[in-house]
């Protein structure tokens, strides 16, 4: 099971966090501090895994962004490494050549996408197409809702309020 997902930039800035096991706000900060100290300092070509507090953290670097996932001791590290890549490929599809900037300004969208890939700390969907289809459906629904709310009658209603 994946206990949390963490995106940190090379400078140690947090780009996205998702916690599947309960951690208090204080613990979260501590975890992020500890792990960025541990992972960002690792030389290239070493293992993409770090053993940490009895868990294993699998990380992968894309440009200046580190994608980290913390898993239990008996999970398959290589698989998780590919889950990360799966996530990135889907992000890439969605944003069209995704870059860190996309994730910074659209972090809520990255969360929606992550919610379609991982659920309750497990991989729920391994088909890129299915994920893309669901996200697209959600987006069009939101689009429709927005049009509705920005229609003239609505604006008048808002103004009258």
């Amino acid at each position: 099971m994946i206990n949390f997902v963490l995106l940190i930039s090379r400078q140690g800035k947090v780009r996205l966090t998702k916690w599947y096991s309960p951690y208090s706000q204080k613990e979260r900060s501590k975890v992020i501090r500890e792990l960025s100290g541990l992972i960002l300092t690792r030389a290239p070509k070493l293992c993409n895994f770090v053993e940490w507090r009895g868990f294993k953290v699998v990380y992968r670097r894309y440009a200046s962004l580190y994608f980290c996932m913390c898993i239990n001791a008996d999970d398959n590290e290589l698989e998780v490494l590919e889950i990360i890549h799966h996530f990135v490929e889907i992000l890439d599809r969605y944003f069209g050549s995704v870059c860190e900037l996309d994730l910074i300004f659209n972090f809520h969208k990255a969360y929606y996408i992550l919610d379609e890939i991982l659920l309750a700390g497990e991989l729920q969907e391994s088909s890129k197409k299915n994920v893309a289809r669901l996200i697209a459906a959600q987006d069009s629904l939101v689009e429709a809702a927005k049009e509705e709310s920005s229609s003239i009658s609505n604006i008048i209603a808002q103004a009258a309020k």
């Binding site: 998702k18 440009a63 200046s64 590290e77 590919e82 050549s97 860190e100 969360y111 809702a145």
Partner: protein, 954 residues
């Protein structure tokens, strides 16, 4: 085209995301913050603004949505935004789908399942689970997975179960995952739903089936026996998956549904463990997967590794075992650290079946042990721990301790220390060695080891090694004393270790006559003085001093009270700790006794003699008889006294007819107890207790041990009995038809791109084999491996097994005492490092697998290249051109240099690159440059701010 795209991006960042200029400014200023404290200041200011705005009762809903996202952003950066949680809960209740989604997203980010606000969201969730819009239901189910806790499960459970039959597969899948979560939180709540999981395993949609494997894995790992009937079906599913019967959308890097395969293999490993019949079904499909899996891609290796795990768990079969061994040795011989790591882990699993497998890889293992990568090193220690025998225990434990001394990570230090202790206890070749190792462990990790270990060590020194050789035991003790006296000179020692030292010095400090009593007492006083804040150490020291005194007095020698000792006792007499006080008073009392009495109270070296307690106290019988003769009433035991009251039950009719007590009894009636014989009628009991009062004086060790035992109550594992429901049977033919669509598996399906990939991988393979063969020839020329390594290998893997006598290890049965025959390992994986031209994984992005570059072309989405493209670029560039070295250096200010330098190297090497570009599509280069600038801006915007933001806002 390019412009269109960047406009699209602007739209996405600006208006479409609904975020205002304020939010963008916030994100930008965070991006520009130079230190954590500056970032904190900005966020605190932001939170203050939001708090003020949110206190306004009339906020437009669109604005509210943005505020919530800003709160989520602040939380993500580690700040407390709890004041806004309630607004997120309210927003989830909104009817507008856009706002509802935001509400659910932020609620799931803000709250854990233990939060007080959960109770408020349950109603919203219940309503949304009934919604006609499946996307609303999905959003609610995602929230269910995160937020519903044990108490609220019943509120949503019926609805979630109903959703298992929803027409949309996305809903079914999420409902399965929600039930999986419920099972994790409260197994009993879903125990009656197991049949539903079995039904979902046959779902039309592979996604739902894949999701169902998660709860099944949990259920089976708790109780495999009730699911043995699934073996055949699961094997058949795995076979179909491996034969590419699933839709191609589940393919990942040309592997058919690898994530589902892995999950299935995990489940099969559980079902086949120790079950020959079940395992028989699996061998064929495992062999097939071993054969099919290409080890050139990461995901292929992930499946291979899982296969190895499965093989090592199920009932062994020589054919699949050979395949597993082969896969493992490929891992170990790989250049990639990741694969080596997996190889070491796999080897650790395989040696449980056949310990000889390790020998072939001894040099690879030693390389990993000496690797600078800490992760790999630790994994290797884990392997060594698993393969320790009495022949190699010394080398392994020494290595472990050397490593332990140099690390600061307390968590791992604890683990490795306890492993050292365990190995030493199990395989110690000699007592001397054992004590030495224990001393080292205590010295360097004393505060981290379990107190039990300390007590074991003390007991060991006291009991000796069980042999009748008194001389050896005394020698052991005096060497322990000598080593402890030496160690006491160290400036800082862990408390637990000091306790051991004090105890041993007290018991045996003067036993061999080498050290005078006053010398030992002086040392003990020093310890107590140096650790005046540690009451436990002090208590041990005082008790030890007391013992030394009494031993001396009992032997008829006179001991003078040292000045410092007197001060210590005086101080302790007035201590706040009652325990310390009592020890001091006992000490004083003992000093006043005659030497005869003292000898009885504190017998020499009697710490491990059992103190027998005869509760009938026979030594008092004379006294009692006398008293009875003088007219005293005989003692009536408690049970008898109670028995007289309980006259209602005939069984308790007693000889002593007394008036029942007339007063009211408030406590409940007790069950009738078997009456104990009255103690006074036992004058002739044959008690071995020699003298009076010997069990009245509390002996310090005893009290400590009991206390220690109380700390470790046995934790009862609550094995939940989940009733097996075998009512539903799998319809396998159905499954086959659903997935066996000819359109998917027809050979004409793969597009041209895949053939190019094939070529690429083929190219890889051939170059690989060339390298391999050159390696082999080199190997024959240079069969030499450094002598030191050879020696280490031999000592680890048992070359000296023949010479070394298997001694020691008497205290517990040794794990495996097979006489490992050494092979003189000639294969030098070390050499590989030198020969191989070291093609580094591209630094910028490690998407470097050749199979990777082909994926975009199959894609319907044309603009995927951004992340994938540079990998291809650097891949090509990794041909030995000098300009590339700049790309590879890891510690450049990667941000600024990496991307441009690749572009540079491209232009310098046009011939090769243009071909890749042609393959990729027209606007790759621009996209790259744009990305480079974008990254520069977004990630570490420098002072002279680039124009990307101007574009956005202008």
């Amino acid at each position: 085209m390019e412009q269109l795209k960047s406009i699209g991006r602007e739209l996405a960042m600006g208006s479409q995301g609904g975020s205002s200029k304020e939010f963008l400014d916030l994100v930008k200023s965070i991006g520009e913050a130079r230190s954590k404290s500056e970032e904190d200041r900005i966020i605190l200011r932001e939170l203050e603004t939001l708090r003020r705005r949110l206190s306004d009762p009339d906020i437009p809903r669109r604005k509210m949505k943005e505020y919530l996202l800003r709160l989520a952003y602040a939380e993500m950066l580690g700040h407390d935004a709890s004041f806004g949680y309630i607004h997120a809960v309210k927003m989830a209740h909104d009817d507008n789908i856009m706002l509802k989604r935001t509400g659910y997203l932020t609620v799931a980010l803000f709250l854990d399942d233990g939060h007080d606000l959960i109770i408020l969201i349950v109603n919203t969730i219940q309503k949304d689970l009934r919604s006609d819009n499946y996307l609303v239901v999905c959003a609610a189910l995602v929230a269910v997975c995160k937020l519903i806790n044990e108490e609220t499960i019943p509120a949503v459970l019926p609805q979630v179960v109903e959703l298992l039959n929803h027409p949309k597969e996305a809903v079914r899948k999420k409902a399965v995952m929600a039930l999986h979560r419920f099972h994790q939180k409260s197994p009993s709540s879903v125990s009656h739903l197991v049949s539903n999981f079995r039904k979902r395993l046959c779902d039309n949609d592979p996604g739902v089936m894949g999701a169902t494997l998660c709860p099944l894995f949990d259920l089976i790992s708790e109780d495999a026996s009730s699911y043995k009937d699934l073996v055949v079906s699961l094997v058949s599913i795995l076979k179909q998956v491996a034969e590419k019967r699933l839709p191609t959308t589940y393919d990942y890097h040309h592997m058919p549904a690898p994530f589902i395969q892995i999950k299935l293999l995990k489940i099969l490993a559980l079902l086949g463990s120790g079950d020959k019949q079940a395992s028989n079904h699996m061998y064929a499909v495992l062999t097939e997967i071993f054969r099919k899996c290409e080890s050139s891609s990461n995901i292929g290796n992930a499946i291979l590794y899982e296969c190895v795990c499965c093989v090592s768990s199920i009932y062994p079969n020589s054919k699949v075992l050979d395949a597993a061994i082969e896969a493992t040795s490929k891992f170990l011989k790989s250049e990639s650290h990741n694969l080596k790591y997996m190889g070491i882990d796999a080897l650790g699993r395989l040696i449980r079946i056949n310990p000889d497998i390790a020998e072939e890889h001894q040099l690879a293992v030693i390389d990993c042990l000496e690797d600078p990568d800490d992760t790999l090193k630790r994994k290797t220690f884990e392997l060594l721990y698993k393969m320790t025998k009495s022949t190699n225990v010394e080398v392994i434990v020494d290595r472990m301790i050397d490593y332990m001394i140099n690390i600061t990570d307390n968590h791992y230090k604890t683990e490795i220390a306890s492993r050292c202790v365990e190995l030493a206890e199990q395989f110690a070749p000699s007592n001397q060695w054992f004590i030495q190792i224990m001393n080292k462990v205590f010295e360097h990790a004393g505060d981290l080891v379990n107190p039990r270990v300390a007590h074991n060590l003390m007991r060991l020194i006291a009991e000796g090694f069980g042999e009748d050789d008194e001389g050896a035991d005394t020698q052991l003790r005096s060497s322990a004393v000598a080593s402890y006296l030496r160690i006491l000179g160290e400036p800082k020692l862990p408390s637990l270790f000091l306790q051991v030292i004090c105890w041993v010095l007290g018991e045996y400090g003067t036993a061999d006559g080498r050290h005078s009593a006053s010398y030992i007492i002086g040392k003990l006083c020093d310890v107590a003085e140096a650790h005046s804040s540690d009451d436990t150490v002090k208590a041990y020291a005082v008790s030890a001093i007391m013992k030394i005194f009494t031993f001396e007095l009992a032997a008829g020698r006179k001991v003078e009270m040292l000045h410092e000792c007197q001060t210590l006792i005086d101080e302790v007499l007035a201590s706040h700790s009652t325990d310390l006080q009592q020890r001091a008073y006992e000490f004083q009392a003992l000093l006043a006794l005659s030497s005869q009495a003292i000898e009885n109270v504190m017998p020499l070296d009697a710490s491990c003699e059992d103190i027998e307690i005869d509760t009938s106290l026979p030594f008092l019988s004379n006294y009692i008889n006398q008293a009875i003769e003088n007219g005293a009433r005989p003692y009536i035991s408690e049970s008898e006294r109670l028995g007289t009251v309980n006259t209602i039950t005939p069984a308790s009719a007693s000889h002593y007819q007394q008036d029942p007590a007339h007063s009211l009894r408030f406590e409940a009636y007790e069950l009738p107890k078997p009456r104990a014989p009255p103690p006074s009628i036992q004058p002739s009991s044959t008690s071995s207790l020699p003298t009076s009062s010997s069990d009245l004086v509390p002996v310090s060790e005893a009290t400590y041990t009991t206390r220690e035992e109380q700390h470790n109550p046995k934790v009862q594992t609550l094995a939940d009995q989940i009733s097996a429901e075998i009512g539903v049977h799998l319809k396998l033919e159905g499954v086959q038809k659903k997935w066996g669509l000819q359109t998917y598996s027809s050979p004409s399906a793969p597009s041209t791109s895949s053939s190019s990939t094939q070529k690429a991988t083929n190219g890889m393979v051939t170059s690989d084999t060339i390298r391999q063969s050159s390696l082999d020839s080199r190997k024959q020329q240079v069969p030499e491996v450094s002598a030191e390594k050879q020696r280490l290998a031999a000592s680890l893997f048992g070359k000296k097994a023949a010479e070394r006598k298997v001694q020691g290890g008497t205290r517990r049965p040794a794990k495996e005492s097979q006489p490992a025959v050494a092979t003189s390992a000639p294969e030098p994986p070390k050499e590989e490092k030198v020969i191989v031209p070291a093609a580094p994984p591209p630094d910028l992005l490690d998407l470097g697998e050749p199979s990777e570059t082909a994926t975009p072309t199959i894609d319907p989405f044309k603009q995927l290249e951004g992340l994938l493209e540079p990998a291809a670029g650097s891949d090509v560039a990794s041909a030995p051109s000098p300009s590339v070295s700049a790309v590879k250096t890891p510690d450049l200010m990667s941000m600024f240099t990496e991307t441009p330098s690749i572009v540079d190297s491209k232009s310098s090497d046009k011939g090769v690159i243009s071909s890749t570009i042609a393959k990729k599509g027209p606007n790759v280069k621009e996209a790259l440059q744009k990305d480079a600038t974008a990254r520069q801006v977004g990630v570490t915007p420098s002072g002279n701010n680039p124009n990307l933001f101007k574009d956005l806002f202008g």
